[in-house]
């Protein structure tokens, strides 16, 4: 499990309008590119300080590549990060609050306690 890296993916994509569109149009390709090129640049620093050990596990990579937000919720991704990015990508395809309500419906099988979001 690398909830930290899943959250960092959501965080870094959400901050960049070009990456939001790229992830919407080509989720699998964007995840692959991000993991190989961007994931491990740490410390807001130069590439020479990249992590030697952080990587997504298979379930995390697939959930991101499939835009599978119920699975991300199950894996403990921070729900604020997931919701914000997915609204940015998909609210435009729906009227009013329909997307947010559908999002809630797709998570309806979860009950308290929700998956732990601590990283």
């Amino acid at each position: 499990m690398s909830k930290y890296l899943v959250n960092k993916f959501l965080y870094t994509i959400d901050r960049d309008p070009d990456l939001v569109e790229r992830y919407r149009a080509d989720p699998r390709g964007t995840v692959g590119w991000w993991e190989s090129e961007r994931a491990n640049t740490l410390l807001n620093c130069v590439s020479g300080e990249a992590s030697t050990w952080l990587r997504l596990d298979d379930a995390e990579r697939e959930a991101l590549a499939d835009h599978d937000y119920p699975k991300l919720f199950e894996l403990g991704a921070h729900p604020f990060l997931t919701l914000t990015l997915f609204i940015a990508m998909f609210e435009r395809d729906h009227d009013g609050l329909d997307y947010q309500k559908e999002y809630a419906r797709r998570l309806a099988h979860f009950s308290l306690p929700y998956p732990d979001i601590a990283t």
Binding site: Y4, R15, H78, T82, A104, R105, S111, L112, I117, T119
Partner: protein, 287 residues
């Protein structure tokens, strides 16, 4: 010595700006009621005639990240750029520039550390809607210098609720010990019951109206002990997965003081959350 002239606690609904400025068919049906309540609320700050604002909020992963997350952080910058691309995108919030008050920031940091709070600080803090929303609602002129104070309310592990109350109490003492002839207002924003990114989100009301009712009662009556006896980090998951923002209300109860009844209490039941507005006048209601 500085005077604490108003203590203000509210929710920070990022859609207020868009709702209040929308016209024609875009204007939601609740906008006029919302604006009327906000204008009444704004007057509670205006009449206190503050010189400087201490603003308590919580970054929503805009500036602060999981590589280096502070629990309590004080901004110490001459200016603060405000609002981010994804807040413009999602809420239509404008970019803003707010003036800082470095002298009061330095005083809060020194005295806060000496009072036992290991406060982080930032000389290049950029602030988000947790602080710009109350500027938009309470001081749209954005003409007063600010001291931002960020708390961690959604990247676990979080500080305990009692720590928020203790910090609030200390903030009050620190302001009242500031040797400057300034009128200070403390404004803090948080949440009542709230669910984001979970199965209970975006309902017709907040996810837990009963929690909201009790929370408003605790705050309005300054019932810190009653609140602390029922609220824990674990219990705050029950009313909604984002309800830990309620701890910023608890911080403001600490600033206002045990048993201090709010001089202004108002609420608005909106879709998916309840708005709540409180003002205390520690020196009595201004003429």
């Amino acid at each position: 010595m500085a005077e604490l002239v108003a203590v203000i606690a509210s929710t920070h609904h990022p859609f207020y700006y868009r709702a209040s400025t929308a016209t024609g068919e875009d204007r939601p049906p609740f906008a006029d009621t919302w604006v009327a309540k906000i204008e009444k609320f704004r007057e509670t700050l205006t009449r206190a005639r503050p010189d400087v604002l201490v603003m308590v909020g919580s970054d929503h992963f805009h500036q602060l990240w999981l590589d280096n997350m502070p629990q309590f952080l004080v901004g110490k910058a001459p200016f603060y750029d405000a609002n981010f691309y994804n807040e413009e995108r999602e809420f239509g919030l404008p970019r803003m520039l707010l003036k800082g008050h470095e002298e009061l920031s330095a005083h809060v940091l020194r005295q806060g550390l000496d009072a036992g709070f290991d406060l982080a600080f930032s000389n290049e803090l950029r602030i988000d809607h947790s602080i710009t929303c109350p500027i938009i609602t309470l001081r749209p002129e954005a003409d007063l210098p600010i001291v931002p104070l960020y708390t961690n309310i959604f990247a676990p592990p979080l500080p305990q609720p009692k720590r928020f109350v203790q910090l609030g109490r200390s903030i009050r003492e620190i302001i009242e010990s500031w040797p400057a002839n300034q009128r200070v207002a403390v404004i803090g924003t948080g949440h009542l019951s709230l669910e984001l990114g979970g199965p209970r989100q975006f309902g017709a009301h907040g996810p837990d109206p009963e929690f909201d009712r009790r929370a408003v009662e605790w705050i309005a009556n300054g019932d810190i002990e009653g609140c602390l006896s029922e609220v824990t980090l674990d219990s705050l998951h029950l009313p909604g997965n984002a309800t830990h923002g309620f701890m910023d209300f608890m911080l403001m109860m600490g600033v206002a003081g045990e048993g201090a009844k709010a001089d202004h209490v108002d609420t608005l039941d909106l879709f998916h959350t309840m708005e709540a507005y409180f003002t205390w006048y520690p020196k009595g209601v201004p003429a």
